[in-house]
């Protein structure tokens, strides 16, 4: 993957968020630069959930933060509604940015430990100096909307709540700002397994009740599939594949997407679909193929080529460009799904599955 191009961008007039050729780079040490996001394009329709999928170090969190201008991207444009955020002055940005809110990975770290729940949820109101009579009522309403009993949690502090409850407080706090776009950065990965489902269901319900568009950033393929309409797969700051989430399991083509899917325990066997045994590629037990290249000095051409079982010289020489391979399905790869149709299905397999099963 690791491709560029804008083929997956849509033209609908009512897009709530458009990110255009966004680049995020961080200087480190002398003259060295971390290429966190290199030329990302994305758009979001009203009521849509875009899932961004990738491993740690793929730039998905940097992308989420850059969209919120925290910090501003190195280059590229981000437009929220009709307003372009990238050119705004600090003061204008304060207001414009509040139309987007973010849910972060660690709910406990996201809440000021010295505050009570009611103050945490009302923080947005306090920042903007709102102090109407309906303040308490709207805090209560929002707490109820996220499944917390206002009477119980009203005066509690974060350390008196469980992780799931803290995440609900974070969601309530974001909702109080009445945002258009909610960016969720790994919102369930630090929660207990039994609590993840609560939060995922809550986010889904909230999105509908509050007319939100959502960007959902995560590393867990099943979680992303569950909540998203559209999935974007990132690798080392580049987009590999964009596809409707329903097709994630069976239609995803990019070697990296397949690798992510086959990493799900219990999915190895499923990847071995009967109609495609001829193209099996072994992922060896050896660690060499697992090394993520340094984002300081990403590979030329396709950035995935160092781990890709299909890589050829072409991949090193030329960067693949996004192209359409199906309805709403876009791909940046030189090798899979050649346009004339009978592309080989690719299966990434391990030779060690189900050792004990």
């Amino acid at each position: 993957m690791a491709g560029s191009g804008t083929a997956h961008m849509r033209t609908a007039a009512e897009r709530v968020l458009v990110v255009d050729d966004m680049v995020v780079e961080f200087p480190v040490g002398r003259k060295q630069v971390v290429h966190a996001v290199s030329g990302m394009n994305l758009d979001l329709l009203p009521g849509e959930t875009l899932g961004i999928l990738g491993e740690s170090g793929c730039g998905k969190s940097s992308a989420g933060r850059a969209v919120m201008q925290m910090p501003k991207p190195t280059s590229g444009r981000v437009s929220l509604g009709k307003r372009e955020l990238t050119g705004l002055k600090v003061r204008e940005l304060r207001g414009a940015r509040a139309r987007m809110q973010m849910i972060m990975q660690d709910p406990i770290s996201s809440l000021n430990p010295r505050r009570k729940v009611r103050d945490l949820v009302a923080e947005g109101l306090a920042i903007w100096g709102y102090d109407g009579d309906d303040k308490d009522a709207s805090i209560r309403e929002t707490l109820e909307a996220v499944g917390l009993d206002p009477d119980v949690v009203w005066d509690r502090r974060p350390h008196e709540l469980s992780g799931g409850q803290c995440q609900r407080v974070c969601i309530a706090r974001a909702l109080m700002m009445n945002p258009d776009v909610l960016i969720c950065d790994e919102p369930v990965s630090s929660l207990d397994v039994s609590v993840q489902a609560q939060i995922l269901n809550l986010l889904e319900r909230t999105k509908e009740n509050y007319d939100l568009s959502m960007i959902f950033i995560a590393h867990d393929v099943s979680v992303v599939k569950n909540i998203s309409d559209r999935v974007m797969v990132l690798y080392l700051g580049k987009t590999c594949e964009v596809l409707p989430s329903g097709g994630l399991q069976d239609e995803a083509l990019h070697p990296y997407t397949r690798m992510l899917i086959s990493s799900i325990p219990g999915e190895e066997a499923r990847a071995e679909t009967p109609e495609s045994p001829h193209d099996e590629v072994e992922v060896p037990l050896s660690a060499s193929a697992t090394e993520l290249p340094s984002p300081l000095n990403p590979p030329s051409g396709c950035r995935f080529r160092t781990r890709c079982p299909l890589a050829t010289d072409l991949c090193a020489a030329e960067e693949p460009v996004m192209r359409e391979v199906g309805a709403g399905h876009f791909l940046a790869c030189h090798h899979v799904a050649v346009p004339d149709g009978d592309a080989p299905r690719l299966t990434v397999l391990s030779d060690e599955e189900n050792v004990a099963g």
Binding site: E55, S56, N201, D220, Q249, S263, G266, A356, G357
Partner: protein, 334 residues
């Protein structure tokens, strides 16, 4: 499987904290034969990590900790031993792999030193033999260019590579029992599977008993013979892995399996969440600890503690701690 590598009998680990007694492990019994793999699944506060460390003898009786019951490794009670004798057990009999490879490795020691140290201490090898053996071990955990890696420092390796080094260290003295505590939680998804596969391969090659402690049901599903589901410091269900996943009898196991999003489900499938949060172990609920979150809980569940009992039919071993075990067959993961 008459000779058990590990026998744990009615183990309790209690910490006295400033806010009261915490019964982190509250009556767990299990046995493990050579070459067998046991998955211990649970959420935070279920006591799974404390269980692993108590079996290891890393947690033992002291001013703030009370361990009762017995842990027998190779026939010897770990908690009856003197600390010196226990140290001799670590390495040749039992070894452990922790969650975060970076904290298990000393940042100022080279990879080679980490591994040869154990070899020279426990097996009395000289420098040359130990080095040869260490290179061999690195090769066994599929580390490319093992000779060069011996001279590197931990920070020069990636997370997956470090965990491989930690595994090589654990294997150095050929332990009969390996306890892996969340060995992949700190790693990337694509690396997690490789480490789990590696552990499974090594265990079967060496006929080594393994305990895989994890919160990740998927990690345990395909790679263990048996599984013990823990909740609130107790085992709530235990049986062969395929049975627990295909036919969970305890409502907690069933709900836990059902709450995880599956790749094969359509987008926006409403997940069956378990309401509430794991119990506060300083003040656990009376009766069944899962009762406050259980869909099927009745008055009896809130009053009377269910004991772990046999639920299997005829010769199938399937034990659960529930007054009203489920009868529905759930379409399994594995």
């Amino acid at each position: 499987m008459t000779e058990h590598v590990l026998e744990v009998d009615d183990l309790h680990t209690t910490f006295s904290t400033p806010r009261g007694l915490m019964r982190a492990v509250d009556g767990v019994s299990l046995t493990l034969g050579a070459g067998e793999t046991l998955g211990v699944v649970g959420e935070s506060g279920s006591g799974k990590s404390v269980l692993g460390r108590t079996i290891m003898g890393l947690i033992s009786n002291n001013a703030n900790t009370e361990v009762t019951g017995s842990v027998r490794i190779a026939g010897q009670d770990v908690h009856e031993m003197k600390p010196g004798a226990r140290r001799k057990l670590w390495g040749p009999e039992v070894a452990m792999v922790f969650q975060d490879p970076m904290t298990s490795l000393n940042p100022v020691k080279k990879v080679g030193v980490h591994i040869t140290e154990a070899l020279r201490l426990h097996l009395g090898l000289n420098r040359k033999d130990a080095t040869e053996r260490a290179v061999d071990l690195l090769r066994q955990v599929f580390i490319p260019e093992p000779v060069r890696r011996m001279k590197q420092y931990p920070h020069e390796l990636s997370g997956g590579m470090r965990q491989r080094v930690v595994i090589a260290m654990a294997l150095a003295c050929d332990p009969k029992l390996l306890i892996a505590d969340e060995p992949t939680t700190a790693l990337d998804v694509t690396v997690q599977k490789q480490i789990l596969d590696l552990l499974a391969t090594l265990a079967s090659e060496r006929n080594m008993a393994t305990i895989l402690v994890s919160h990740d049901l998927g990690a345990v599903a395909g790679r263990t013979d048996r599984v013990a589901v823990m909740y609130g410091g107790r085992t709530v269900e235990t049986s062969s892995t395929s049975r627990v996943f295909a036919n969970p009898r305890h409502p907690y196991s069933e709900a836990l399996i059902a709450s995880i999003p599956q790749l094969r489900d359509a987008p926006h499938t409403v997940l069956r969440a378990i309401e509430g949060a794991p119990p506060n172990m300083l003040n656990p609920p009376t009766g069944c600890r899962f009762a406050p979150r259980c869909r099927f809980a009745q008055d009896r569940c809130r009053e009377e503690e269910p004991l772990l009992r046999d639920l299997g039919e005829r010769d199938v071993v399937h034990r659960g701690a529930c007054h009203f075990p489920l009868e529905i067959a759930y379409e399994g993961v594995s």
